[in-house]
């Protein structure tokens, strides 16, 4: 049969978050939480504190690598869904960060909630929401 000659693509489910992506994300989160907790017990500006603060970056690079691999294995619709999600998430991120920046100015640089060091934490859930919206469009 002709179909037997066709190469089968791997079915990486980026939109539905493959187990590898979820595992990498969990590992990254775990390392980040451990680093945040560890930093409470280390002297500020010490070598140990700097080393611990940089540790989550390695876990994050591993996460990025796993995501990139999943995207490469995705089929054309899954890639389109990712593109829609990214375009939505990027514009929403600009909007949210701009709003927070202006609120910070309005509070004379004393905006306490959410603290500026945690602003980034809003972005992954925001992307997940945008991905769900993009995914829903093609259901």
């Amino acid at each position: 049969m002709e179909t037997e000659k066709m190469p089968l693509m791997s079915h990486a489910r980026v939109h539905g978050a493959s187990p590898a992506v979820l595992l990498a994300a969990t590992a990254w989160l775990a390392v980040y939480v451990a680093a945040r907790l560890g930093l409470q017990y280390l002297r500020a500006e010490s070598f140990e504190a700097v080393a611990v603060s940089l540790t989550p970056l390695f876990a994050f690079f591993a996460f990025v690598w796993v995501v990139q691999r999943a995207v490469r294995r995705a089929d054309e619709l899954q890639r389109l869904v990712q593109l829609h999600a990214l375009s939505l998430a990027f514009s929403t991120t600009i909007c949210v960060l701009m709003g927070l920046g202006l609120l910070d100015i309005a509070h004379a640089g004393r905006l306490e909630f959410p603290p500026m060091r945690d602003w980034w934490a809003m972005l992954p859930p925001l992307y997940a929401i945008c991905l769900a919206v993009a995914h829903w469009r093609y259901r």
Binding site: M6, E76, L77, Q78, Y138
Partner: protein, 62 residues
């Protein structure tokens, strides 16, 4: 883009998952094409037509 993919698939007794596996795409992709929410690339359209032993213009109509 209009198409008769669902009908052709049903004639062969294939599920969306079966067809997805034969084409090397996700089941969601097959569903999106059948419900005309997504127009496949030229490459995938040719793969589909070849699988059903038909011409692309017979399977897909603008």
């Amino acid at each position: 883009m209009r198409n008769d993919l669902r009908q052709r698939r049903a004639e062969r007794g294939w599920s969306q998952g079966d067809l997805a596996e034969k084409l090397g795409v996700s089941r969601q992709t097959i569903n999106a094409i059948e419900t005309e929410k997504y127009s496949p690339s030229l490459e995938l359209a040719f793969k589909i037509a070849r699988l059903f032993k038909a011409r692309v213009e017979d399977v897909f109509q603008p």
